[in-house]
Symmetry: C2
């Protein structure tokens, strides 16, 4: 049983070859990896009935160079027109570009690319330099009825990027990736949509040096995909950051937007509130490219005071206690924690196991104090903002948690979580190399329906033998929260996995969850939209689509169930 003798799989430590399928589906930076720990490895073997032999050879690594037989359907004249708009070097029709900018990060897409199966890809990739470029391209595509899709961060996990009807794909991150203005009086930043999370945050943090402001700022938006998602993507898919309980979701952080649509430009105004009728600004948020192309967005920004951050972690005796404690916190009228998350019993147990707490004196101590395995729940979080405010929020969280029988674990767990917060997705490729799927689905929920949703979805997932299901709530509101389901299993086939995935989405919606809390809808979840919001609300979305895009060229084919 000595760890020394233990077999350890040969996890990949090599960047995918340039031009390979793997370079497209691999998460994150080519040279960065995060491998399962030995504890992880042991857990997988045990849970999935696998042996060391199953981990001796990686399968379907997708190291081959991309090869696309189907030629771009774009005509010579159209291509010339696009080249005249953006310049020759900003137009690409090679197979690799066409595939790369036609895929996001779903398991389905990864599995297809691993086996070299290529479905639909865009016909031409264009890197616009400005909103004027976008306007000219959309105008031309309108005249020629060529579909227009947008690729920005590329981190979609809802098939938001895989085109149903090939045409033009606009890549926003190449040139349209800057903060155009920080308005310090209004505490807002005017940003191009292709700016990626880290560049955006770094520019705000160093605003005095870069923009001559008096103070430093933060965007307050830190999704797990932070490093590989863009400001524009956050807005058009209604993303949420891990500190959203305090800073708000992208929905709340957007102040105004500018879109190029076939029906003309929409530029909304910067007022934080007006009583001038229904707000077109709202209608555009979450529109996932079906009304038009986001070309500029003005975001609310926040004072950056990282030294004030207060961290905390608690062990609660039960899921019920964790849910009630967090509800009490966010309904308590004393401000909001920033990061705030509770893990259900299985996620807590897996976490303790993977972080090496299982079987230690600390674990024994917890058990003795009545925090029992598969009942206890971990809560971690931070309080941010002005110093006295952050301290008071932490003090109140502590008081409420203690009232629910919590044990205070200091801020260490929160600090540890922060350090790995963006790393977890890297593990996906390691697992998949040996035929193991790790995937997630998530849902918004009102407080009064939380237990029903949690129980119902777990029942479905755990109904499949050998499936790990970890659940947490991580975005809190006085009226509800979200449930985020992570499931890990040995994949039999892509087809059977997709059937299982559909089953989970069915279970979510059947038990009163919304099909998405912050992943957007894409082509994966959109089939559930009409049932979710009803046909009369769908008819409103269709009327808007008809108005903005009567020829159905904007991201056509299934997004939001519009066609």
């Amino acid at each position: 049983m000595s760890a020394k003798k233990e077999f350890i799989p040969d996890w990949t430590e090599t960047a995918p070859p340039d031009g390979s399928y793997r370079s497209i589906f691999k998460w994150g930076a080519p040279n960065e990896f995060k491998h399962p720990s030995n504890a992880w490895y042991r857990m997988m073997k045990k849970e999935f009935g696998m042996t060391d032999d199953d981990f001796r050879k990686r399968k379907d690594e997708g190291l081959e160079p991309v090869s696309i037989s189907r030629k771009s359907a774009i005509g010579r004249a159209d291509l010339a027109r696009f080249e005249s708009i953006v310049g020759k070097k900003n137009v690409a029709v090679d197979g690799y570009s066409r595939l790369r900018y036609s895929r996001g990060k779903t398991m389905e897409e990864a599995a297809e690319l691993r086996s070299g199966r290529i479905g639909r890809v865009t016909d031409v990739v264009i890197h616009p330099r400005s909103k004027e470029d976008v306007r000219a391209i959309v105008a031309h595509c309108g005249r020629r009825k060529i579909p227009v899709s947008v690729y920005s961060g590329g981190s979609s996990v809802t098939l938001g990027l895989r085109p149903a009807r090939p045409g033009v794909t606009l890549v926003m991150g190449t040139h349209m990736n800057r903060i155009l203005e920080i308005n310090e009086q209004n505490q807002s930043a005017r940003v191009q949509p292709g700016m990626m999370g880290p560049a955006y945050e770094e520019a705000l943090n160093s605003a005095p040096e870069k923009f001559g402001t008096k103070l430093r700022y933060t965007g307050g938006h830190f999704p797990q995909s932070f490093e590989f998602s863009s400001v524009g993507g956050w807005v058009v898919t209604l993303g949420s950051g891990q500190a959203s309980t305090y800073y708000g979701d992208a929905y709340h952080i957007v102040l105004s937007q500018e879109y190029v649509t076939p029906a003309g430009d929409i530029k909304t105004l910067d007022y934080p509130a007006t009583a001038t009728g229904p707000k077109v600004n709202d209608i555009m948020k979450g529109s996932e490219g079906v009304f038009g192309v986001l070309v500029e967005v003005t975001m609310r920004i926040f004072r950056y005071m990282p030294k004030n951050t207060q961290r905390f972690a608690f062990m609660l005796p039960s899921w019920n206690a964790a849910v009630n404690a967090t509800r009490d916190v966010v309904q308590g009228e004393f401000g909001m924690p920033a990061v705030f998350r509770i893990s259900d019993p299985e996620e807590t147990e897996v976490g303790l196991k993977l972080y090496g707490v299982h079987g230690t004196p600390a674990d024994t101590f917890m058990k003795l104090r009545g925090y029992r395995p598969m009942e206890r729940c971990l809560l971690i979080g931070t309080a941010e903002g002005e110093c006295g405010y952050a301290k008071h929020v932490k003090r109140m969280v502590k008081k409420i948690c203690k009232g629910y029988g919590a044990m205070y674990l200091t801020g260490f767990a929160a600090k540890k979580w922060e350090h790995t917060r963006y790393r977890e997705p890297y593990m996906r490729e390691d697992l998949h190399d040996y035929g193991i799927v790790i995937d997630t689905l998530e849902s918004a929920v009102t407080w009064d329906n939380l237990h029903r949703l949690h129980k119902g979805v777990r029942e479905f997932i755990k109904g499949r033998p050998g499936t790990i299901c970890m659940t947490h709530a991580s975005h809190f509101y006085p009226q509800g929260t979200n449930l985020y389901f992570i499931f890990i299993m040995k994949m039999e086939s892509v087809k059977s996995y997709l059937a299982f995935q559909r089953g989970v989405i069915d279970a979510i919606t059947r038990h009163g969850g919304s099909p998405s809390h912050h992943h957007g809808m894409g082509r994966m979840l959109s089939p559930w939209l009409e049932k979710h919001i009803g046909k009369n609300q769908m008819a409103v979305l269709r009327a808007l689509k008809e108005h903005f895009d009567p020829n159905n060229i904007m991201n056509p084919g299934g997004i939001l169930g519009l066609d």
Copy 2:
């Protein structure tokens, strides 16, 4: 000069006769009054060059019984249909009802009614008992192309209620005026739209007795019209309460809504946040009756902890200091004050005069300390919520204000303001009885444009000789605030007054203000909408109108500039 000998006008202390014009235009409860103080009276004489003689005889009191010559245009068969839906006693075609439910509270409407001039009035007044009633009525009106308007609180100051095309008016307050459910887990209340402010708040405050809840709640929404406005009205006109800086505007407080529209029912869901595409819930807010009839709304509610309220008031040395201090407060990331308002130099001076501070030792003391008349600015506010939170917010407000040279005036002024907060509108009739107009217009503004807007609008208003102009900001956001202009003047004629009013709105929009921060648009402000949001956004609203109401029967004639 002794006050004893001073002439005091005979302000009306009599409730308007039943059935009179005055019973329609008088603000508030028939038997309640608030008269100008002697200081007010002296100020008006001085500012408007009037003498006691001008105040010896009230003019155009509108005490005559309403008499309408034009008969209801509604046909016998339609009437019978309405009676069969709601019952005979819930349908009225008498002249008084038709006029009463066709008028709001603008100066223009009051002036017309005082002189017995009657323009368009509705044809039939219906008091629906349920959403099923509303559905049947809208269906019938759809078939017969009869216009449908809604009357709820009746406090519109934007000509939201004066029909452009007579038809049916639905009075929501008669029967549809209850809380249907308090969901304590979700902290939300499902409410019928005709419920008035005080009944709503009282029911929430006494929720344990009335609904068996564990805690007491507040709606957090206290507009100046609180006593005579309805929950539904707040939602469809995008109102704001005086504590909105903490609780949010009606826009934020709405969780979900149910509408009856000619295109079918819209019932949005209770999720506090989802990523399921553009939200129809948003599109309906502020729709002022042009898409459909609001029949139910679910509002976020808040824990009621009145004992925790912290009050404060400061004198700041200048408007600039007041603006910068409040901006610093709401951008400070330590929570938000609830009531929060700053008066500009003229409003501050008028306030000191009217509250008898002028010329007292306190005034001398302030002047000696450098708070000079027509420069100094009053700030008052409260902090609410959990006890430690409220105290911390007050502490921080104090710290910031002191940094801008403020003198702390204790919480007394805030307390005094609270006691008269809903009383001011009562004075309008007293003034108008002697030919003096007091009226208001208000605007949303971003911080970076506040001084330009304030200066530009004041220049226009003060350009009219003998015009008092008091301005305050009273709804704060990190990105901006509102400016609320109160002007008082001797009215030459209704026509010249309306020309002046149009001039003020022009000045507001010309200097970058929005035409409305929380009064809604109505028929008064809607002509400025297209210029404000641009023709492409107007086209979106028109597309929505066409979808919901292709026959243009819902509140037709000018609302939101749609026809």
